[in-house]
Symmetry: C2
Subunit: 114 residues, 2 copies
Amino acid sequence: MFRALADPVRRLLLDALFQRDGRSLGELEAVVNEHVEMTRFGVAKHLRLLEQADLVVARKQGRVKVHHLNPVPIQQIHQRWIGKYTERAGVASVLLDLKHHIENPAPEPDEDES
Amino acid sequence: MFRALADPVRRLLLDALFQRDGRSLGELEAVVNEHVEMTRFGVAKHLRLLEQADLVVARKQGRVKVHHLNPVPIQQIHQRWIGKYTERAGVASVLLDLKHHIENPAPEPDEDES
DNA sequence: TTGACACGTGACCATTTGGTCACCTATCTT
DNA sequence: AAGATAGGTGACCAAATGGTCACGTGTCAA
């Protein structure tokens, strides 16, 4: 899990999926190639690692494989590991976060908010 | 930085320092050996990586090297990387954090809070 | 159906990483 | 000063990682 986040290419992949979800391997390959040179296979390998770490979920749709970002494990890291350390800095950081959220009106996921 | 977090021994080390700060190499070695077998050199190597990642600051005090946890970079990860993703889940997670902080009265660092 | 397209597999190689060891330095104690 | 204590260095080795390539499979379109 942390291991999956340890590689810059993988973080780039996550970023790309964060900007627009549901991309194919080909698209992702193109994105990566804007930054570093890498063949399709390399990208596919990284994607596979991300899947194994459960950070990305992929399903086959015809002949393309569509990749989706999975926010759950990141939340978990945030809550059970990072949070533990940020506590030490007191409530300040959380308030700071809240302020941030208020000022940037929430790009909420397409779910039904009651 | 992420790389430094990618190893379980290193996370264990951070945990140990989190529980009690300012430990020597020998102490840390003992802690690690409660979980896995590893020589002093192995532990020292991990410690050095953590220092390079700026997650741990060490200073020599006589003949012992005292290691201290550095919360800053973890905060940074939290704010500039994790936060970016958790935003997607809306304000909820932050409020949840806030609730958590309120209920667990803040073990604040020994700094002057005005 | 034939071929182009999107992707997967297993073998393979170079580099990095995790870990150990023999030896050395610096400090404290007596 | 002498020995014990705490730690550092560089060489070294095994294993994991990152990356590529030659092939093979399934899918769409003409």
